[in-house]
Symmetry: C2
């Protein structure tokens, strides 16, 4: 037994001889207990082929299935978000769920320990993506793209401590919108804030604020733009009182502030941003927050966060009511975040060429938790079936299938019960349960007369419709659906 030491940890190195081969086994002391447990488990597994083992019927920790009702809600949310991204002229791309491990290395600081790695089964070392921003930057560098406005909606993976009732999962969707390119100052940044504003408004989640952490702006003014700490704090006080546009303007007129040209430039940028936000009609929701100081490794400019402020709706609000200060109940309501990251693409480019980027990510799981809670009592349709083809008598399966085919081929969403002789009552009940608005009923008489009895499920009204007119009649009656 040898002990090999590097700066950080001690390694027991074990030389094992088997036959004429010598094996070097090197293990981290901190992990050995864990490793032993795993090897013993492995041994039990290998030796236990014949033992019927207890099967655990569950999804992986921190993940969940979406049932049809949840999917219906999720699709409504996606549709709103994608609608907004498209209104702003975005294209979309997709990237693989895993990246080379080294692509993710050095991008997330402390959080890197939360990255899921794939097992080494020979070949490349891979990790599941941790966000959509780093794959986006890799995509830009790899394809030498210098201008793009794109959205990307996909799942990302974090080995975080899950808190599923608050919408924090290990597998979760991100909805990202980013603008890459060298443009005039603050125009794309303002558009990202407009997008957060519009999405949070349209989703109807209650009141919200888009917060920009003052700490970052202050730091930039002091360390990069040369403003005195005193002056910066004075600005901070103004900001906390009033926020927004007039403030920046008043500060610019302030003699003391403008002693430094660079501090002036910094304030000019903020003023510019707020002037665009004013044109975009979103200034009522955008504020600086003195308490906020958040940032991923790759952010370089303004960063912001969209926060729901209605405690009654925000997930985690129960905690706030149980004694945690009110400020925290606000911060757990964070449902969007983003900022500028001008250096990230350059980290991937062999020559370090930079592509300035700004973007926003919508945290769909928290939004989804809120909407799911709202919809819990509500009846949500999980299919779009317009009509059920039913029969009133026995031995009409073939006639039902023939009519069904006519409807399908005309583009009508339709179904039958997969029984030779279902009862009319059970066919009607199925419509009630799944919200199908119409029933096309066939009987001997209807077949003889060349008609179909069309029943409106809600009103129980029934009318005979000629077979030739049926498709149009169904379309007319379900055109809102």
């Amino acid at each position: 037994m040898l002990l090999y030491t590097n700066r950080h940890v001690k390694f027991p190195v074990c030389l094992a001889y088997v036959g004429n081969k010598c094996f070097l086994i090197l293990m981290c002391v901190l992990q050995i207990d864990e490793e032993v447990a795993k090897l013993l488990a492995l041994k039990a597994q290998i030796g236990g082929d014949n033992v019927k083992h207890q099967f655990v019927l569950k999804t992986a920790k921190g993940t969940r299935d979406y049932n049809p009702k949840q999917m219906a809600i999720r699709e409504r949310v996606f549709s709103t978000i994608i609608g907004c991204f498209k209104r702003h002229g975005a294209e979309t791309i997709d990237t693989p769920v895993f990246e080379l491990k080294e692509t993710l290395t050095g991008k997330y600081g402390e959080d890197s320990k939360l990255i899921y790695d794939l097992k080494d089964q020979g070949g490349e070392l891979l990790s599941l993506r941790y966000d959509l921003t780093v794959p986006f930057a890799r995509y830009l560098a790899m394809n030498k793209i210098t201008n793009i406005k794109r959205y990307h909606i996909a799942k990302v993976y974090r080995r975080d401590n899950p808190a599923m009732t608050r919408g924090r999962y290990r597998e979760f969707y991100q909805c990202d919108f980013d603008i890459a390119g060298q443009y005039d100052a603050m125009i794309p940044d303002a558009e990202c804030l407009k997008i957060v504003h519009d999405i949070l408004s349209e989703l109807d989640l209650g009141d919200f604020r888009i917060k920009m952490p003052w700490e970052d702006v202050r730091k930039e003014m002091v360390t990069e733009k040369g403003l005195s700490e005193e002056a910066a704090d004075q600005i901070g006080e103004y900001v906390s009182l009033q926020g927004g546009m007039e403030l920046a303007e008043r500060l610019l007129q302030d003699q003391k502030m403008c002693r430094s040209k660079q501090a002036c430039a910094g304030l000019s940028d903020i003023k510019l941003l707020f002037s665009y936000l004013q044109l975009f009609q979103v200034t009522d929701k955008v504020v600086f927050d003195l308490s906020l100081a958040r940032g991923l490794d790759y952010y370089t400019g303004i960063i912001y966060e969209g926060v729901l402020t209605q405690a009654g709706v925000a997930p985690g609000s129960t905690e706030a009511q149980n004694g945690t200060p009110a400020e925290e109940s606000v911060s757990v309501g964070s449902v969007a975040g983003g900022g500028r990251y001008d250096g990230l693409v350059g980290m991937f480019d062999p020559k370090g060429r930079k592509v300035p980027c700004v973007g926003v990510s919508i945290g769909i799981e928290r939004i989804f938790s809120i909407l799911e809670q709202k919809a819990s009592a509500e009846k949500v349709r999980t299919t779009e079936v317009q009509v059920m083809v039913a029969s009133a008598q026995k031995n009409l399966l073939e006639e039902r299938l023939r009519l069904l085919t006519e409807l399908w081929n005309a583009g009508i969403k339709a179904e039958v019960m997969y029984k030779k002789n279902p009862k009319l009552l059970s066919q009607l009940q199925h419509c009630e349960e799944s919200g199908i608005p119409l029933v096309a009923i066939l009987g001997e008489q209807e077949l003889k007369d060349g008609v179909v009895k069309l029943r409106v499920v809600a009103s129980r009204e029934e009318v005979d419709v000629s077979r030739a007119a049926l498709v149009d009649e169904i379309r007319r009656r379900t055109s809102q659906a």
Copy 2:
């Protein structure tokens, strides 16, 4: 050093003492060389923090990004497929991208070696899903669901040998439609075949056939239904000649065939299936194939495969032209597959309760390869922008942003160039390149007159439209889009 032996492999067991702890290290002989290499690589990595390493800018082997044009094509394909699934009344669900490793164990036979495992980072042992069928069965058993018609569109993962030009990837989409439940024979089975038929027709991929492997039907008739091998082969000959409905009927009338009641029942089932397929108007495309004998472990009843038959379009057709027999050029054109799997859900149920299932999976990547190739010359729009807000003179950024906000707030898809003073020509060029049909041009005169100059990019026609009427005018002119 001890040697522990079980039936299959020898294990070197190494006892290592570190301080007062005793560690048991157990390794499979066959894997030790590999393990040593990995540990040495790990050591190099730990010790090599200061070494600037060469960065490889690529996606993982067998995977790819989708650029905006590819995404636009992919979304059209999805829209067609989802449209068909919804027409047949399906709900949708989603499951996590990884499952407990043991959930996948014993479901794929020989192919299990192609499953991606996640690294053991503490906690559960996880694997990436290999298909959508096993997670679906797990979902049904876990939620005790006995009846559902659902579709699921998601990526699955196989450590297969990639052949990317032929649309074979390690990460690829599956589009699955399944019907679970105890229903009258062959009705759901026929609907699945109808769905394959309709999707392949609507996607306009050229001619196709839906093939059912004769081998399986023959085996069932011989081993389970007690038909003589001779009689089965005679049926096979009929089948290869004619296929379909009349055949089954003629066979049923054949004295020799009906000596066994069970063989008769088997043939009755086939006859029943074809009678439903006839009602669904798809018999022209469905054939038995004597050469086909494919099956995953979990299939229990009929299985089928959708195959493109136009060699000029099917991926892999070049190989066929280079000397491989023509039959192979057909089989690489497989773009859909499915069948009945009545036992799979029972494998997850603690009491083994069965839920009969039948389903179909559309192989989107091959379809996508074909359509991408078709669209290579074609101009495909990647955004839906209806109008660009442009200016003819300098210093009109604010006016552009104001108009842009009006349009966005009215739900119009619109964009500007992110420049203070872009040239009119470059604004018009951007429209030409990205297919934006309209330009709303602002100038001093237009602002004074309260109008906007609306330019049709294709015809270069320009009309003055009053500001109040602009939104309606844009909607009217882009209503097809």
